[in-house]
């Protein structure tokens, strides 16, 4: 070790990934949430929460994270077109789990141009809307370390996660109809490695570690930014979703939406909450009540049978024999009119 090294930069990686087979450091036993599963056994242990910290002020928008993500996950984004901007691919896709979003903003206070570049991707919410919305048991899981992962074998491609997500992240593949997003490189984290994007990031604008360490690191960064005149610098760890395991250091934390529409106060949409909450229970109750009521009525009340008298009258009417006259009230004035 370099004993007298004067400072330590946060490096995502302290060693190269292993090539000897290593058992994953966490798995099914460490799930704290599992989509569409109510009887999940409580995890036997609590892993220390991890987090990816994206320091927007250090980001140079080079897209190394995108490149590393493509290579690690073996995805194949399309070669698209230029749309008059630097964002490419144009949007997140099932083949592009992370994306640099570029915003040119003239700061009205200084009149200086600021090129705000934000790495978009799954935020790994503590209260994940995708997981809440997901109808397929085990298609979305959350580990006690905070990673929200998609288990593609269980995914049915319904797109509910898309509606559940407050950040517009999951994308459904048109090819295999499964939902894709950043996994926080759970396979790497499970063997003690940081995510591919964080490892690649040339300026270490993306760092990865325990959430606590990342928050501490962010404090230092925020202090540096404040000393450079960014009075509103701060950490984006939105409480509306219970905090996130991907956090940003923003120069303008008072206005997250400057950064290509990062939600100011993200939370799971009340509509989604209602849909997955009240609607489900009331709906089930209503259907159940009605079904049960019918059953009970069917058992206890007499069925509505055609009586012999009815048969006689019916036959009589058919044969043109006299039958009881129409009840008077049936033919009220205008009652036969359609409109």
């Amino acid at each position: 070790m370099s004993g007298s090294t004067t400072y330590q930069s946060p490096h995502t990686a302290v060693s190269n990934p292993p090539v000897t087979p290593v058992a994953a450091g966490f798995g099914e036993a460490d799930l704290v949430r599992r989509s569409a599963t109510s009887d999940l056994p409580p995890p036997q242990r609590q892993l220390t929460p991890v987090a990816k910290l994206i320091d927007v002020s250090k980001c140079i928008g080079c897209k190394a994270c995108q490149s590393a993500c493509i290579e690690w996950n073996d995805t194949h984004p399309d070669i698209g077109e230029n749309h008059g901007i630097y964002d490419n691919p144009r949007d997140l896709t099932e083949n592009m789990f992370t994306l640099m979003r570029f915003t040119e903003w003239v700061n009205p206070e200084t009149d200086n141009l600021e090129w705000l570049i934000r790495k978009d991707g799954c935020m790994h919410c503590s209260d994940p809307g995708c997981l809440k919305a997901c109808p397929a048991p085990g298609a979305i899981v959350q580990y006690t370390n905070g990673i929200v992962d998609f288990v593609h074998e269980n995914c049915i491609g319904c797109g509910y996660c898309v509606k559940g997500c407050p950040f517009n992240i999951p994308r459904i593949s048109k090819a295999d109809h499964r939902s894709y997003k950043c996994t926080l490189c759970s396979d790497r984290v499970a063997v003690g490695q940081g995510p591919a994007c964080a490892k690649a990031c040339p300026t270490q604008a993306i760092v990865f570690g325990t959430k606590e360490d990342m928050k501490r690191h962010a404090e230092g960064r925020i202090a540096d930014l404040k000393s450079r005149g960014y009075a509103n610098a701060g950490l984006y760890d939105p409480p509306g979703v219970g905090g996130t395991h991907v956090m940003y250091v923003l120069h303008h934390n008072d206005r997250p939406s400057l950064y290509a529409g990062l939600p100011d106060n993200p939370r799971i949409s009340p509509i989604v909450q209602t849909w997955k909450g009240v609607t489900k229970y009331v709906g089930l109750a209503a259907m159940g009540f009605l079904a049960a009521g019918s059953l009970i009525h069917g058992v206890f009340a007499r069925p509505n049978r055609v009586t012999q008298e009815d048969d006689v009258h019916g036959e009589d009417l058919v044969e043109g024999k006299p039958v009881p006259p129409p009840k008077p009230e049936t033919y009220g004035p205008g009652s036969g009119e359609h409109r």
């Binding site: 370099s2 004993g3 007298s4 090294t5 004067t6 400072y7 930069s9 002020s57 250090k58 980001c59 140079i60 928008g61 080079c62 897209k63 190394a64 995108q66 490149s67 493509i70 290579e71 194949h76 984004p77 399309d78 070669i79 698209g80 077109e81 230029n82 749309h83 008059g84 901007i85 630097y86 490419n88 691919p89 592009m96 040119e104 003239v106 200086n112 141009l113 600021e114 090129w115 570049i117 040339p202 300026t203 270490q204 604008a205 230092g220 960064r221 540096d224 000393s227 450079r228």
Partner: protein
């Protein structure tokens, strides 16, 4: 780079000008962000575009491309006027005190001695006054009116903030803010680093751009220190290595020169290379030139090179022009005077300016040989790709032989990085198909030609037949053998001159480094500056001790840096004239009373006394040069010059076009446009997502920036009725391209000399081969002008016009 990438973390101020470090060298730029995060360093970016480097800067100032000298001279002027000079450093370590010959002067934008006919200077007055003792005269008080300092002061005095703003288009307040921040580093314990690249080199006055910054760095006392220096961020992975090894028309290895016709024999050649010190007691290391030269000749021709035949000096070509550089070769080719061309990992159809001329030139070749791991446009220059390569295939009579080579992943050897580290790497994969290493191909060509010469005889076969080629497998020399040859070895027992009974190096053993080389034929060495790379201690380029005990980024145990594993050049200047480091917290060298102590290799004799032996040991003066004597073709001081195509005139001489000694060919004179016809000012660059024309072949990088575009300001877009993402046509005197328009706030029109200058940014990358979308190439537009000193094409500033159009292949 004078310093290493890791050393940048020691800077207090980083100036990125003439480059775009974050985009072109992201992982090196990491050390800028480290300096910012841990030292509180500031980053200044001066660029025509608000680049991705600018996006993380503390201060950004716009500048018109090609006007950097005015800006830099303005900074020097500011520092002098405001007494922001590191005086002790300037007085001791620069030639400020040297007295210049009578007769030297500067007027109307020209130095003394200009000959308009020859487009050249008579540089005889650009030198020091030499005293009777044979040494240059100096005035340490700096009072002499013709001492360098006073001449410099006078030379830069016209570059007032107003003048800078007028020439460069930089708002005066922004220039002043930059000047103020930079001037702060004149404090002995404040260090600034300059990071530059092709934004400075690719101008007809490229070398002077760099000189201007180097001079500023010298008067601020920032050269030789940790966190300082002049850091050229070089392009390709081994462009430094190929330059060091002299794979250029005018070079031999280790910056030995190719002889010229004026040097028909070895004695004449050596006579102008004595490098006698210009001040008493100075090192003037080039005095060892003959040792390196003879050892080089021995490496080339082995036993055949002997004292009797002047070490085979005759075998070397003698140049009749400064260089048969790439532009000259294409000019000759276009004149029908070149028959064959070999492109090894080079794609001139995309890379050399004035594509129409390049295509015409290649079409006149009898044969073209390409060696490349990938398809190149050059190898298929004859193939019609519609408007992306509209040629008449049948009429092209060039025979093309395309050879598949290995790429890095299948190869082994060393690469020299920008910080001069020679790093060894190993092969990881099996080459595809029948791809072969370049070494095997070069060996096969040599051996087969040799066979033919042996059989048939022919033109002067001696250098070919006698070329030293005693490799284990001559058909495919091994990387380690070649590396050992570069390091050099003793050909006989090398005895200690002080004690002849002592053998320093037994015959056949590797020399430790170039200090053991001799000019009596007893040693051989392929490239003296690399010597030490592979000695008896083994392959030092493969060392992997990444410890850094000082914590200051020296990493002396990691691979090998030339020369002698030295990590910071001129590090003798990191201490004051008493040998005390300027900043003890960033100590690099320190004099302990008898010797220099450092975790780096001192760039000065280890027992050379501070104050007596000056640290710029490669210079005859022992000090650095604010005044370059006659060593630069275009002036001993940098002076503002306009590009050959410019929207404005040179304010110092409105008659003057471009660099008065910049190289243009007669046949190209008609290929320049003027601002009436081409009102907009374009510049070319590369995007961070791409690497030149290679990553076209990579699906990932192609997806990250898929399509050719140009960048223009919102104002220019409004002026021409262009919307973001629409197609525009951009054309210069030399050709026309179609591109998507990126309309951005990051480019703004500049006010220069009373005119509004609209800037058009044109990135390189696209062509007609590979995975990326087909696209037009920038070199369709650029000018075939060579830099005055080194003939680098001036492709960073040229005039264009622009209008909305339809997509390629769609008729408007």
């Amino acid at each position: 780079m004078t310093n290493s990438w890791t050393d940048i973390k020691n800077a207090d101020l980083v100036v990125v000008m003439g480059g775009n470090a974050a985009e072109a060298h992201p992982c090196g730029f990491k050390w800028v962000t480290e300096a910012k995060a841990h030292r509180g360093a500031k980053l200044i970016v001066v660029d025509p575009r608000y680049t991705r480097t600018a996006s993380v800067s503390d201060y950004y100032a716009p500048i018109r491309q090609g006007s950097d000298i005015a800006f830099l001279n303005g900074l020097i002027n500011y520092c002098i006027t405001n007494d922001k000079v590191q005086w002790e450093y300037t007085k001791a370590y620069t030639n400020a005190a040297f007295i210049v010959k009578e007769g030297f002067g500067y007027q109307d934008g020209l130095f003394t001695g200009y000959d308009e006919e020859k487009r050249d200077y008579d540089r005889s007055t650009w030198d020091y006054e030499i005293g009777e003792d044979g040494f240059a005269k100096v005035d340490p008080t700096l009072q002499h009116p013709r001492c360098v300092w006073n001449l410099l002061k006078q030379h830069v005095s016209v570059y007032t903030p107003e003048m800078v703003s007028n020439i460069c288009g930089t708002p005066k307040d922004k220039f002043l803010r930059v000047a103020e921040m930079i001037a702060e580093t004149s404090a002995p314990n404040k260090v600034m680093t300059s990071m530059y690249a092709l934004g400075w080199t690719q101008h007809s006055h490229g070398a002077q751009n760099i000189r201007a910054m180097a001079m500023l760095q010298l008067i601020l006392g920032n050269i030789g220190l940790r966190g300082g220096g002049m850091n050229a961020l070089r392009g390709h992975s081994n462009i430094q290595g190929l330059t060091d090894l002299g794979l250029m028309s005018h070079l031999l290895t280790g910056y030995l020169n190719m002889p010229s016709e004026a040097e028909p024999d070895y004695d004449t050649y050596m006579k102008s290379r004595q490098f006698k010190p210009l001040r008493p007691g100075q090192t003037s290391y080039w005095q060892n030139y003959s040792k390196f030269m003879v050892s080089f000749q021995k490496a080339m021709w082995g036993e055949v090179a002997a004292a009797e035949n002047d070490w085979c000096y005759d075998y070397l070509s003698k140049l009749d022009v400064p260089a048969y550089d790439i532009l000259r070769m294409f000019e000759l080719m276009n004149q029908g005077r070149v028959n064959g061309y070999i492109c090894q990992g080079f794609n001139p159809l995309m890379a050399v300016p004035d594509r129409a001329k390049v295509t015409s030139s290649l079409s006149k070749l009898k044969f073209l040989i390409t060696m490349d791991p990938l398809e190149t446009e050059t190898a298929r220059f004859w193939e019609n790709h519609g408007e992306f390569n509209n040629v008449d295939t049948r009429s092209i009579q060039t025979e093309v032989i395309q050879l598949p080579t290995v790429c890095f992943a299948e190869d082994e050897g060393s690469l020299t990085n920008s910080g001069r580290w020679l790093q060894w790497f190993w092969p990881a994969a099996t080459p595809p198909g029948e791809a072969r290493p370049d070494t095997a191909i070069m060996a096969e060509i040599l051996l087969r030609m040799r066979e033919l010469y042996k059989k048939e005889g022919g033109a002067f076969p001696d250098p070919v037949l006698n070329l030293s080629w005693d490799y284990h497998n001559p058909r495919e020399p091994e990387p380690e053998e070649l590396a050992r040859e570069i390091n050099g070895r003793a050909l006989v027992d090398l005895k200690d001159p002080a004690d002849p009974s002592k053998v320093l190096v037994p015959a056949g053993k590797q020399v430790v480094n170039f200090s053991q080389l001799r000019d009596d034929g007893s040693t051989m060495c392929g490239c003296w500056i690399y010597s030490g790379n592979f000695n008896e201690a083994g392959n030092n380029m493969a060392r992997r001790d990444n410890r850094d005990p000082s914590g200051l980024g020296t990493h002396a145990g990691w691979t090998f840096a030339w020369p002698l594993n030295r990590r910071t050049l001129y590090n003798g200047a990191s201490a004051d004239t008493q040998g005390r480091p300027w900043d003890p917290s960033r100590k690099l060298l320190e004099w302990d009373g008898t010797k220099w102590v450092s975790d780096d290799v001192p760039d000065i004799g280890v027992n050379a006394k501070p104050g007596e032996v000056q640290p710029f040991i490669m210079n005859q003066e022992g000090v650095s040069r604010l005044f370059a004597r006659g060593l630069m073709r275009d002036g001993p001081f940098p002076a503002h010059l306009e590009p050959f195509e410019s929207p404005v005139q040179n304010v110092f001489n409105r008659r003057m076009r471009g660099n008065p000694v910049g190289r243009i060919f007669e046949s190209d004179v008609g290929r320049f446009g003027n601002a009436d016809e081409f009102p907009f000012f374009a510049t070319s660059y590369r995007l961070t997502e791409h690497f030149h024309y290679w990553t076209k072949h990579n699906r990932v990088n192609a997806a990250l920036q898929p399509e050719f575009f140009v960048e223009i300001s919102e104002e220019l877009a409004a002026l021409r009725g262009v919307t973001a993402g629409s197609w525009v046509r951009v054309w210069s005197k030399r050709g026309s391209v179609k591109a998507r328009a990126v309309v951005t706030k990051r480019i703004r029109p500049l006010q220069c000399d009373g005119k509004t200058v609209h800037i058009v940014g044109v990135p390189i990358h696209w062509g007609f081969m590979g995975a990326a979308r087909k696209g037009h190439s920038v070199n369709t537009l650029t000018m075939p002008v060579g830099e005055a000193n080194i003939e680098t094409p001036a492709v960073k500033a040229f005039l264009v016009n622009l209008e909305p159009t339809t997509a390629p292949g769609v008729q408007s």
